[in-house]
């Protein structure tokens, strides 16, 4: 009955199948095979990444929950904890952009409220192909609308994120969604199935035939037949999820349940296997009791369905009526479909017959772990070399072009489609270095950011990985926040290709080193392999989600200049080098060279100066230097505040003028400070051994940059503003 074709359809190798047979003690039936194929898929099992992910530091004084649960948890004091995680929804978003992205939001929200936390913020990292291609515009339009429809309706603000454009995402867009929730420390819930005899309750939407094999789909390369996979993508219902969210939080708040797990990827299979596996128990369920949307569903279909907005609860026996009453209040059913058992098996019955009987450990924990071969890719040699083209004429014109490049241009078109203010905690509007949310009733605030430069990672994975962490922390430092925890979404190509595995290994090494330097624990995340379409892999794209704490929200500063006649101070040092820069890409169409190097200790000191300067009220603005370098950073500082104040900068560095303006040397932050605060600021920097220099003053309506007294840029702020503001709507309106 089970032949090679069936195994191939289930993405299982012959060796994996033989292992299943020996673990179960017999040949599995088709439903059992389906269960193993899901749970042993790359998406669910992390079989190719597990061995390497161990290198990431996961411990820390304030970690309540590290990797392995639905989300990580960090203690923020005052009896509160933050629960946060990032997930990818790349493949579904390519097939059906609107629903793919929408259900991505639905899934990450469930991961957070499953733990008892109320979601308070969403961020997303989106990567699309160039917008001159109508297909890419349609994908972007659909993804943004999908996120908007789901997040806005359920009432969780989308407060930030990033949007990058690169040809490698044309047939493989990335949609990484991050959510953070707030929970009282003594009201955290886990995916536990404890207490033999306790009932297992199914809550939420009915089960349909949608999304069968979503997790397996996410674990395979796409070919030309991808369009036919559309039925694999689920349809989201944010209103149902809102009801589910309120009902679940209410039963948890009242302490009526033992454990809870959402039915996301791998649906009923995942929850009924993982919950007992974590608790040393078993679960027995009757599929006839599972609410179904369609007639004639087979056990295989019911177990593998990825219908959205469903949860599995284990309740205390005596509380079932009370739980059902609360769900009824929210117009939801809570159906008793089985119980926790002493045996360590998942047993499923259907029309009086046992259709599944497998050890939960085999399903959840005994998937083979692979150390796949890795090999340094040949492309590195060629692409790391860079013969700088001769200096182009007008650097002001170049700045206008760079700042209007899709990756750097204003993203208002995107974020005004998101409700970024609901819940009334948003202290900094999207577009700042990091999102900042106040915590009601407290002086402290939370900051969060998503970051990751794929070109750096492609051209030097180890440095790219380290910079991704450093840069995200720098974003936080610019709003005065100290990093407290990391989640990451690692988007890569096919791990069976040794070159991809090598990228993966090196990037993890770089990330691990940076996390150790900054002393921040990684509390979880997601690996998305097989981002290949028609044999082409995306560039390695780690997206770092880092959460930080601000001690006093009243000291908060933004990226834009606030007042005239303030000193403009550069922390850190300029250096020669344009490798992997946005400038080379925008002006010369070159994506090569070596990314900037990074001294992590220096980086840490620079950030420390910025954090302390903000905490002491010494600066009026802080903005991170990243893609586009000093010129873009200064231009943004002129336009990001409503006041639109210009500045004049005098630089003395003896380097190529375009490298001075657009080079992306790390560990630099641009500050503005009043003349009275300036001495204290410079003193603080000197104490920490951080180079700090007054490079100019704010004022006027122009951005002027001189090198050794010679003017290299003079542009009205209004012109910069218009170039930056109109770029994206202009491109997107092409039909």
């Amino acid at each position: 009955m089970i032949d090679r074709k069936l195994l191939a359809d289930h993405n299982l190798t012959l060796e994996e199948y033989e292992r299943i047979v020996s673990l179960v003690g017999r040949e599995p039936n088709i439903t059992e095979l389906g269960i193993f194929s899901l749970m042993w898929s790359e998406h669910c099992s992390y079989k190719s990444s597990k061995a390497f992910l161990k290198k990431l530091p996961t411990k820390g004084k304030y970690v309540i929950q590290g990797p392995g649960e639905n989300a990580g948890i960090i203690d923020i004091g005052g009896g509160l904890a933050v629960v946060f995680k990032i997930e990818s929804h790349n493949h579904p978003s390519f097939i059906e952009p609107f629903q793919g992205a929408a259900t991505g939001i639905g899934g990450i929200l469930r991961d957070i409220f499953t733990m008892g936390a109320r979601p308070i913020a969403l961020l997303d990292s989106l990567r699309f192909g160039p917008l001159d291609n109508p297909r890419n515009r349609a994908i972007m339009d659909g993804v943004v609308a999908g996120i908007s429809s789901y997040g806005n309706s359920i009432g969780v603000p989308t407060v930030g994120g990033e949007v990058y454009f690169d040809d490698c995402y044309s047939k493989n867009p990335l949609v990484n969604v991050f959510c953070l929730g707030l929970v009282e420390k003594d009201k955290i819930f886990y995916a536990k199935a404890e207490g033999v005899g306790n009932p297992v309750l199914y809550v939420g939407s009915k089960t349909g035939r949608d999304g069968i094999h979503g997790a397996t789909m996410a674990s395979a390369e796409f070919g030309k037949e991808t369009e036919q996979k559309r039925p694999n993508v689920q349809v989201g219902d944010p209103f149902k999820e809102k009801l589910l969210l309120e009902a679940c939080l209410e039963v948890m708040d009242k302490g009526l349940i033992v454990g809870i797990q959402d039915m996301g990827a791998a649906g009923l299979t995942c929850s009924t296997a993982e919950m007992p596996a974590k608790s040393g128990t078993g679960i027995s369920i009757n599929l006839d009791l599972v609410p179904q949307r369609e007639e004639g569903m087979t056990p295989y279909e019911i177990m593998l369905s990825e219908s959205q907005e469903r949860m599995l609860l284990v309740a205390k026996k005596e509380n079932v009526t009370e739980v059902q009453k609360i769900f009824a209040k929210w117009d939801l059913d809570a159906v008793d479909i089985g119980e926790v058992t002493a045996g360590r098996n998942l047993r499923v019955s259907f029309r009086g017959e046992t259709v599944v009987d497998v050890p939960v450990d085999a399903v959840v924990n005994l998937c083979p772990v692979y150390r796949r071969p890795s090999r340094k890719p040949a492309y590195l040699r060629t692409f790391q070399q860079l013969d700088l083209p001769p200096l182009a004429g007008d650097l002001g014109a170049a700045l206008l072009k760079v700042i209007a490049s899709p990756t750097l241009a204003d993203k208002e078109w995107v974020f005004r489609q998101y409700d970024h203010m609901v819940q009334t905690n948003t202290a900094l509007l999207p577009g700042a270095d990091a999102a900042v949310l106040r915590v009601k009733g407290q002086k402290r605030a939370l900051a969060m950011t998503l970051d990751g430069n794929a070109l750096y990672c492609y051209l030097d994975p180890r440095i790219g990985g380290a910079i991704a962490v450093a840069e995200a922390c720098r974003n936080l430092a610019c709003v005065g926040a100290r990093p407290i925890g990391v989640t990451n979404c690692l988007n890569f190509g096919n791990p069976e290709k040794p070159e991809i595995m090598w990228q993966f290994k090196k990037i993890i090494e770089g990330m691990a080193e940076a996390c150790r330097t900054f002393e921040i624990p990684v509390t979880g995340g997601n690996v998305s392999f097989y981002n290949d379409t028609e044999g082409l892999s995306i560039r390695p794209t780690p997206v770092l989600g880092i959460v930080g704490l601000i001690d006093d929200v009243d000291r908060l500063v933004g990226p834009g200049f606030k007042k005239e006649d303030d000193a403009v101070v550069l922390l850190g040092e300029n250096s020669e080098g344009l490798g992997a820069s946005e400038y080379l890409r925008a002006i010369y169409g070159l994506e090569r060279g070596r990314p900037p190097g990074i001294d992590l200790e220096r980086e840490k000191s620079v950030q420390e100066v910025c954090i302390q300067a903000i905490a002491r009220g010494l600066v009026r603005s802080a903005h991170d230097l990243s893609e586009g370098g000093l010129a873009v950073c200064a231009a943004e500082a002129c336009i990001l505040d409503r006041t639109e104040i210009g500045c004049a900068l005098d630089l003395e560095d003896k380097i190529r003028p375009d490298a001075l303006l657009f080079g992306e040397a790390q560990s630099r932050i641009l500050l503005s400070a009043s003349e009275t605060s300036l001495p204290k600021l410079l003193e603080l920097a000197a104490e920490k051994g951080v180079p700090a220099k007054v490079i100019g003053w704010t004022g006027g309506k122009e951005l002027v940059i001189r090198q050794d007294g010679q003017e290299i840029v003079r542009l009205p702020v209004q012109r910069l503003f218009e170039a930056w503001k109109n770029a994206l709507p202009g491109t997107l309106s092409i039909r």
């Binding site: 429809s149 309706s153 209103f239 974020f415 005004r416 998101y418 409700d419 009334t424």
Partner: protein, 227 residues
């Protein structure tokens, strides 16, 4: 003053509004569950923003059938104060407590952004702390905020000073660009003839604290509270 904030199953600005009433304005506030038939003796009913029933149909179309709406209607008929914000405004239109309907925004996208509002009637229970022509900076967040009603209704509304807020630019001009959702006569907020039911698309509860970027919205709540 005692406020009652209605919770429909898909309300999502209920807590935000409650927070401002209770913690910023220090007023008594209670939640009113949509399935109940009890207004708990409140002086002012607030229908908050959100997606009352998912709003897959017309926004607010199902909410009007909520059990509590019977009491809200009677309360309004007796002259009780009712404030509808965003989705609450849409519900008021569906209930027929205010005239007109909402269409999709003119650019067919959800819009969340600060807008400038001009107060065109400062003589209402909801605006007496403002000046005529005063410009308020308050955010909107909606997909269906494109106000529509037939010309005769519009004329009628204008004649009776029922247009309370209009979308304007920074200088107070009701330009086409400032009318981001395409509303008829740039209408952002309306009051009934009797002056006890106000609906507005912008969110005053999001603009009631300096930390969040504006406190202009507080003027509306303060107008209500002022003895």
């Amino acid at each position: 003053m005692k406020f009652g904030v209605v919770i429909f199953p898909g309300s999502n600005c209920d807590y935000d509004t409650f927070f401002v009433l209770k913690n910023v304005l220090r007023q008594e506030a209670v939640f009113l569950w949509h399935k109940d038939h009890d207004l708990q003796g409140v002086d002012c009913v607030v229908l908050p923003g959100g997606f009352s029933y998912g709003d897959y149909l017309r926004s607010g179309a199902i909410a009007r059938f909520s059990p509590l709406m019977q009491e809200v209607r009677e309360f309004a008929d007796r002259g009780g104060l009712v404030l509808g914000i965003c989705n609450g405004f849409q519900v008021l239109l569906e209930l027929g407590l205010l005239p007109g309907a909402m269409l999709r925004n003119k650019n067919l996208k959800f819009l969340c952004q600060y807008v400038h509002l001009r107060v065109d009637n400062p003589e209402t229970r909801f605006t007496r702390r403002t000046r005529r022509g005063q410009i308020l900076r308050i955010p909107i967040a909606h997909f269906d905020g494109h106000y529509f009603s037939p010309p005769e209704t519009l004329r009628d509304l204008e004649e009776h000073g029922q247009v309370v807020f209009r979308y304007v630019d920074e200088k107070g001009e009701p330009t086409e660009a400032a009318n981001v959702n395409g509303s008829a006569a740039s209408i952002a907020g309306l009051i009934n003839r009797r002056g006890n039911v106000l609906g507005m698309m912008p969110h005053p509860e999001r603009a009631s604290e300096v930390l969040l970027g504006s406190k202009d919205g507080r003027l509306i709540f303060e107008s209500l509270v002022q003895p």
